[in-house]
Subunit: 219 residues, 2 copies
Amino acid sequence: MAEARTSTPRERYRTQVRAEIKEHAWEQIATAGASALSLNAISKRMGMSGPALYRYFDGRDELITELIRDAYRSQADTFRAAAEAGADLAGLAHALRTWALEDPQRYFLIFGTPVPGYRAPDDITEIAAEIMTVIVDACAALPSEPTPDGAAEAFDTHLETHRQWARDHPASPAALRRALSFWTRMHGVLSLELAGQFTGMGFDPALLYAAELEGLLGP
Amino acid sequence: MAEARTSTPRERYRTQVRAEIKEHAWEQIATAGASALSLNAISKRMGMSGPALYRYFDGRDELITELIRDAYRSQADTFRAAAEAGADLAGLAHALRTWALEDPQRYFLIFGTPVPGYRAPDDITEIAAEIMTVIVDACAALPSEPTPDGAAEAFDTHLETHRQWARDHPASPAALRRALSFWTRMHGVLSLELAGQFTGMGFDPALLYAAELEGLLGP
DNA sequence: CACTTCAGTTAGAAGTTATCACGAACATTA
DNA sequence: TAATGTTCGTGATAACTTCTAACTGAAGTG
């Protein structure tokens, strides 16, 4: 049994081809969207014919799932890198926007239209939880906390006993609520901007993003 | 030249078949997503074979565009109906959420992953502008206005001269900014909820939605 | 050297969108 | 009424797609 002490040439070849396939897939997704991803086109552009690709991926679904996984990992890495570089919540927001604009279709691979039947593998939701943890940490480290009014207070008491999504993070409910607001508000602006819903409207999305961010940091 | 005085039986039949096709399409989209929409399957389920459908729609793209148009119209109708029934901004938020939960895939047909090349026809963007107008009206009718801090103030001055998206609505910049915040924040929560990003996290999305709404009405 | 493993091939099934040419039903006009 | 169009639905066909099966050849292993 090959102990995989380093890696056999065959394994290296295999992972290299897999990576090349994914690269072509990303290229295709960026230009035509995930729904137009064609295994056939990838194979032909790599100089091999049709079914050869099935040696490396079980099929279209597995390839896309792998791309989704990479997208999540990429986002988690940017967040973690920003946090380790000492970024606060505003820094995270900036890193997120930069990352999203870098490849809109990658963003939509995570946050775009869901396929009704699809259920993400557990290791992917694990990465998602890791991302949330970074955000919650940043919210807990902020000097002030958002003051709860009516509905916010109700939500805070709800969060008191519903925080397993944050891995039972010891932060205050207000901090948890701010983390969720951060997520939803930044996503709200970003997704609409990346989807092109603002094009032709005339205002600068970056300013809206900044305003939403500051409104989140303030009270 | 048939003056189309009322409508010929053939025209009635035609529009009826078109409607039936769209109904089957909606059904299919709701269960499997728009990317899995199959003209073939629709034809067969209607008892006619393959290419017959091309008498009624130029092709897949035209059918989907028509569905998008209907989705926009449906949303515009709900907003308008709510506004005419005297709903304030909170009422609009409630109507929006109900409408979205009614058919998530219809929501994503409007706000979901964009197809890189696709450009919506002008009459559709017209409906979108109509929707924005209702929201801006509701924001202008609110008693208080959001107080601008730093970035919000910068955005307000920007909106002073960039308001053609609101058909040059005479509302104050603060009201316009609130309208945009309303749109992005409600969409932020809704889209993530409908995409299933909250499932397994344990908290109630409705409470988050309510909290975000109230945070929008307050200051 | 023999044997196994694996990459890549062609062939083919089943599905899709979309076009074409034809017959049949319908509507309109002479 | 009869002739003439117009439109609907059909089967055949092309060009795609994913994906399976069987086969060839090369690379690594005992």
